[in-house]
Each structure stands twice: as C-alpha cells, then as structure tokens.
Symmetry: C2
Subunit: 322 residues, 2 copies
C-alpha cells in the first residue's frame, strides 16, 4: 500500500481555464462514428506528437510564471510525455531538458531530440533522482507526467469536448489508465457536466495495478518487472499517482482489464475497420468495448484513443502481415 | 474533346448554405500538423464511410424538396459515392437505390448494402442508362457523384474549414482530382476567401486526363482502360465533369501528376509517420508535396487527404509487409 494524501480534486473551472490556454494549439479532435454500433471514438492519436499528452504539457507550461518558464522546463519520461514536453516547450520558446533512462528505445530518444529538447540519458535507477537534483541546481520547473493538477486539468479538456459533442444518450466514457492523469481530468469534467455518465478505466491485465487498487480501495503498486510484460508500453506505470488516486476513488465507476490478445485484436481492427492508427495503449478502450461489453452500461459509449505511436513491427503484426 | 457548356460557377453563398445544412452531421475535421515541415493535412478519411463524399451527398439530399426526397434517391457508383449516398439517405430516413456495375469489388457492394441501400447490379455498359431509366420510371431524384452544384457546394465546405484553420502564410491547397467535384468546391471557397492562395489538383500520371485538359485548355476524356491502370481506384473517372471543368479552368492554378511509386510511398509514410490511414487516392496530394515540391509555391501547403478506404492487401504492401 502506497502513501495517500488528501488534496483538493481538480475542478471544472481549472479545466475550463486549461481549455482557454490550449485552444488553437492542441488539436480540437472530433468525436468519430465507429464501425461498431453505439461506440464513438475520440482520436487523440491525431495530436501533434501523436498523443493526448500535449494537452497537459501545454497547460502546465502555459500556467508557469513567465520568469520561471524562461528558465526552461524539466521532465523525465521515456515515452509520449517526453515528446509532449519537448513540443510544448518549443511552442513557448523555452528549452526542455528531458531525463530518459538509458534503456529506452533509440527511436523515442531521437524523436525527443528532433523536437529540440536536450536529452540526458541516465541509468534507470537514477531516473527519478537525477531530475530532482537538476531541479534544485537549476531552478527549472519540473513538468510531471500525471501527478500534477495543471497536467490533469489539461487532459481534462478532452472531457469538455466529449460533453460538447456526445449525444444525449451517452452513458459511458472509456479511458486508458497508467499514472491516472488522463482519466482524472476526464472524470473531473464528466462528473461536473454529465453526472449520470460513468467514466470507466481500462488497463492491460498484465499491468492491472489500478484495477486492483480500485477493487481493494487502496492505492497499490506493482513491480516494473510485472508491468513491463504488456505490449501496451504507455500503460506500464506501476501505480497511479496520489492526486489521480483521489479522482479514481471518487469519480471513476470501474476499471476493466483486457488481455494482450484483446489489445492486439482491437489495434488491428481500428486500422482496418475504423481507419485509425492507434498504439496498443490507445486501443485498450476499444478492446474493452469489443470484448467486455457485458461490463458496460447500455447506451452510447465513447472510447478515448489516447495515442498512435505504434512500433512499425507491431503494426505489421496486427495487420496479419509480419 | 468533350462538350463544354457555360454555367454559373458555384459561389461562396451556396457553400456557406451547405455548411449550415451539414453542420453536426459531417465531421468537422481538424487541420493537422504533419511530420513534414510546411505541410498540413486535412483528414477527410475520418468522415463516416471514410471519405469526403459524405459532405456533397448530405448537402444534395438536404436541399431536395421534401416531397421529392420522400421518394428516395438514386445514384450510380462503385465507390465511395455509393456509400456516401446510402449513408446520407439513411440519415434523412429515405431509401437509396444504388446502381453498381457487376464487376465492382464484392467488398464495396456489401458495404453499400450494409448501409441499408438497395443495390442493383447491372452490366458495366448499362451503368449510366439504367439509372436514367429508373429516374424516369420512379421519379426518384438522382444524386450525381460530381457534376452537380449541390454536390460541389457540399465538398466546398472543406475549403471554408481550411480558411478558418490555416495560418496566414498558407499559399497552396493540394486536392485530388477525379470527376472534379471536390476540387471545384474547394477552389470556389478559396477563390472567395483567400484569393492569393493557389489551389492545385493532383492526379495519377496513369489517369492524367485533368492534367492534360488543364494543359491544353480543353476538357479531354481518357478511356476507362487507360485510367483503370492506377492503384488510386477513386481517381479513375475518365474526364472531369462539365461544371467542374469551368471551375478548374478558371479557379485552379495547376494540376500535377504523380507516379504509382510516389502514391504508394506516400500512402505508407502517412500511416507510419503521420498516423493516418489514407487510400491511395487520398495520398496523391501528400505524394505531390513529398516528390514535386519544386512545382509548389513557397510557404505553407494543405494537402486534402480525401479518403481512407484502402484495400487491406494494398495497406500491408505499402507497410513493407506483404
């Protein structure tokens, strides 16, 4: 059991303020019909850098005091968050210093550098301590991947847009869960705007720490060795954050787990039947709809397709062509 | 040389009226950053049925007199237009009768039937005469694929949206050309709203009738046997329509042709680098940008990605995996 704190939940006013800050910079994604009756898709794979994380990074950096922002920003990540912070920092004309574990895929490191960030590779065991050290030395503000109210509020703008676009018979919003920033923001928006709609998280069975936490009512961590088993490489975080846990405890109805086969099946069907390139982490929600419909309320469901940065080898494989 | 008439060009007011009719029904597609500097993508592959044609079909059916519309609508097509008319007719609660040549791919026939349309298969030489006969017998209005001002005005709503979303340094809009309805509508909108921006058509070299027409100043037809050679199966129409030709003559700056290799290369790069599933016909504009940049003005270009209904075998092949 991990430590728990009591912080104020992120509120709808903070999410509306985030929407004002990122308007015209993040893509206002449409809500798409899908080939599957009663399922609508929210394609965050269409964002710059291919993932929703641009929203939280833009909002967090925009909300910094200008004098602080001018120092540049710090982040640690080996995935989409690194690219989101690099992209948003470049957008605001400040430097980004990204600490990445030296076992991260070469492709992800290069993508982050290509966005103009300074990348510092560190041994995996220093991936949290080194950024702290840098923050103290340089005064650069850290942009955390999920456990931060401005990041959560930024991701919550997806919830505002779902409310604007979804029909009256919407009953369910499916959201991938890793550190919990995305689902926290969306749940906060939906709780305020559509209190009868259930926000349901989706996780790989092989990285099911949030589902176990929700079931037991306590924030539980899995080991990195456990969560590393899933193909959904964006969902390997081994526990949800402290503030996300408060949202998940109070505003999320359920967390469903999906198998690796279900994830890969949904990834392929999204390409072939819905014309969307989703990474496995972004396809878990469609997998839940296609394979666990019995766990969902009747009526219209929105599945958040959180990102599209799929490894080409995995893509070929799900198309039955490897 | 084909007959030419003089009709009034479709104007911005008709396009604005079309936008009012289809708002909330067709997807308001965003303008996306691409991995290629100075190229923005307009992803019409995200529309229901996977192609821009939903816009023209919705507008044409919405604009019918309600008593006439109640009879149901007629169309002939073996491609995306058939599905667009079927989808739009179902949306308005009227029947669609679609005449399809009996050599059309099974997949396309089934997709049209799945949308609730009545499909009539006819020998390929009756594909124009049979719908005429039906129109006379039944009084059902025909929704033509491109040579109709309501269809052109519907496609022109893409031009309105490009104007709303594109930066001030936009210089070029690239549009696939087949029968010419899409480029006519977009050119009409851009001529009114951004008169300094060049609208440039793109065609497969193997179906280059519009490029030849533009070069010679006369509307020229190629044979179906000629145009059937290209992989871009949505661009095999063997001449542009009469009204489209008037728009192309006066409002389109140039028509560029691309090779089959360039089309397939662009199709693969759109999936792997831009996370967009485009059919080859929808990828020709990206092919023109990537391979014929020297023919384009300096500054920002928008490429219209017109559709995403790609054959799975072609998709696997462009991903280097067949």
């Amino acid at each position: 059991m991990l430590p728990e704190t009591t912080q104020e939940l992120v509120g709808i006013d903070e999410i509306r303020a985030a929407a004002d800050r990122i308007r015209g910079h993040a893509v206002r994604t449409p809500l798409l019909d899908s080939p599957w009756p009663e399922l609508l898709l929210k394609p965050e794979n269409l964002q710059p850098i291919g993932a929703f994380k641009i929203r939280g990074a833009l909002n967090a950096i925009a909300h910094l005091d200008p004098d602080v922002r001018a120092r540049g920003v710090l982040a640690h990540s080996s995935g989409n968050h690194a690219q989101a912070v690099a992209w948003a920092a470049r957008f605001y004309g400040v430097t980004a210093h990204i600490v990445i574990p030296d076992n991260a895929p070469r492709r992800k490191i290069e993508a982050t550098e290509a966005l103009g960030a300074t990348v510092e590779l560190v041994p995996v065991e220093q991936r949290f301590s080194r950024p702290e050290e840098l923050a103290q030395q340089t005064g650069m503000p850290m942009i955390p991947p999920f456990d931060h109210r401005d990041v959560i509020a930024g991701q919550g703008t997806i919830g505002l847009e779902i409310d604007e676009d979804a029909p009256a018979d919407l009953t369910t919003v499916l959201v991938p869960v890793s550190g919990g920033g995305l689902i926290s923001g969306i749940a906060a928006a939906i709780a305020a705007l559509r209190p009868d709609v259930q926000v349901i998280g989706v996780e790989p069975e092989l990285a099911g720490d949030a589902a176990e936490s929700k079931r037991t009512g306590r924030r539980i961590g899995w080991t990195p060795a456990d969560t590393a088993r899933t193909v959904a490489d964006g969902l390997r975080t081994f526990s949800v954050g402290e503030l996300p846990w408060q949202h998940i405890s109070s505003q999320v109805a359920d967390i469903i787990t999906v198998t690796e086969d279900e994830i890969l099946d949904a990834t392929g069907r999204l390409v072939l039947d819905a014309r969307l390139v989703a990474e496995p982490s972004g396809a878990v929600t469609t997998a839940a709809f296609l394979h666990h419909r019995d766990r969902l309320p009747a009526g219209t469901t929105v599945a958040v397709v959180s990102g599209g940065n799929i490894d080409p080898t995995v893509l070929r494989s799900v198309l039955g062509a490897s």
